[in-house]
Symmetry: C2
Subunit: 233 residues, 2 copies
């Protein structure tokens, strides 16, 4: 299932949407919600770390890690290193972001792990970690025999996209859940903050869609015939 | 991007998860929420039509429409007819389900179209309709020249999966949104109804994942070489 078009234009859209998402989540968390703190009597500042790190880490840096194979005019081994380092950063930021959500709940006497967003979130971060470790061991160090690499590669790509799409969907769930809490506490349903959060979620979904379109499109021609890179699957 | 495995086992999982989702949403809407009505002083009965028709229509029948190319041992033209008829049923049930949500809002003095779920929902049903009309005109009647069919097919498959995944994600948003409203009105966060709704959402997400895995896998061998069917893209 491949689109017969070059991936690079799609990756430009990915960069632009990712930058837009970064700006929007900063405007929301800093300008509307007061910024960040790991320790504070204003517990909302602890919560703010969560949407910021999840969006910038798991979604934007994770998405850039996926499209790096399609967007960078570099040797395959260099792109592989960039792919795994970006995914490691995404995973670490995601874990810290989840810790911030638990810290906020615990210090605010809010129940943990009752919502669909939290259930899926725990599942996704575990799958993301398993995916990273499997990819590292099979494709980087120590590396599997060529037969196992060849069998593993399409599953690595499909499972990776599946986990990534789940992460994008769960980000949308998170935006909706937080906004619903705020609206139940009196925030205007058609106010500027509500629109800002909804637009950030829409940008996030579009970002995810263009990441997937990039994966389904052709890498630059000079990179096409370099073996078992995910770009050619 | 294809998995070198047969699709049929995945389609069995699709059927089983779809049946489970149907049972769960019926238990929720009838046993916990009182059942259905198009006209009633109990406006909640009007709302109940919405999750039932969206899940059974757009998600389950829509998903079965997608995997019909992979699961049925029939001639390609028969499968194409089943594909487009099932998608038409899915689309009609989806439109009626959306009308039920508006009717419930209007008769209960609840604001329309302020939430991410509603925004994405309107976008998805429009895209689903466009996709159906384009597919009908190009691949069924009157049908496009072979060159245009060949160019259109991968886009039909990719765009179709994209819209479908958005629909599955938006179903999860809907379950979370409704459950959050109920919990804000006093429903127990760890109670049986909350767990039921969350599990229905998880089953819905798994159903969507197995629909995608079916599309990425091989159709039965005797159907493989029948030209421009989506199953071979």
């Amino acid at each position: 299932m491949a689109l017969g078009v070059p991936a690079v234009p799609f990756t430009f859209v990915v960069h632009a949407l990712g930058f837009s998402g970064l700006v929007l989540v900063l405007v929301w968390t800093i300008d509307f919600r007061g910024g960040f703190a790991w320790k504070s009597t204003n517990k909302s500042l602890i919560f703010n770390i969560h949407p910021f790190l999840m969006l910038v880490g798991l979604i934007i840096i994770g998405g850039e890690a996926i499209v790096s194979y399609k967007s960078l005019p570099l040797r395959k081994d260099v792109k592989k290193l960039i792919h795994l380092v970006l995914h490691a950063i995404a995973l670490i930021l995601g874990i810290v972001g989840i810790c911030a959500a638990f810290k906020y709940h615990n210090e605010s006497a809010i129940a943990n792990l009752y919502s669909l967003h939290s259930w899926l979130g725990i599942g996704i971060i575990v799958l993301y970690g398993i995916q990273w470790i499997y990819g590292f061991v099979i494709f980087f160090y120590p590396g599997a025999p060529i037969g196992l690499r060849t069998v593993s590669l399409p599953w690595h790509v499909v499972f990776g996209i599946l986990v990534y799409v789940l992460a994008v969907g769960n980000a949308a769930l998170g935006f909706l859940e937080k906004l619903t809490f705020l609206e139940n506490s009196g925030l205007a349903k058609y106010g500027s903050e509500a629109f800002l959060v909804n637009f950030t979620a829409v940008i996030t979904v579009l970002f995810g869609a263009f990441v997937v379109l990039s994966v389904l499109s052709h890498a630059p021609v000079e990179e096409e015939d370099q073996g078992y890179s995910p770009i050619t699957v």
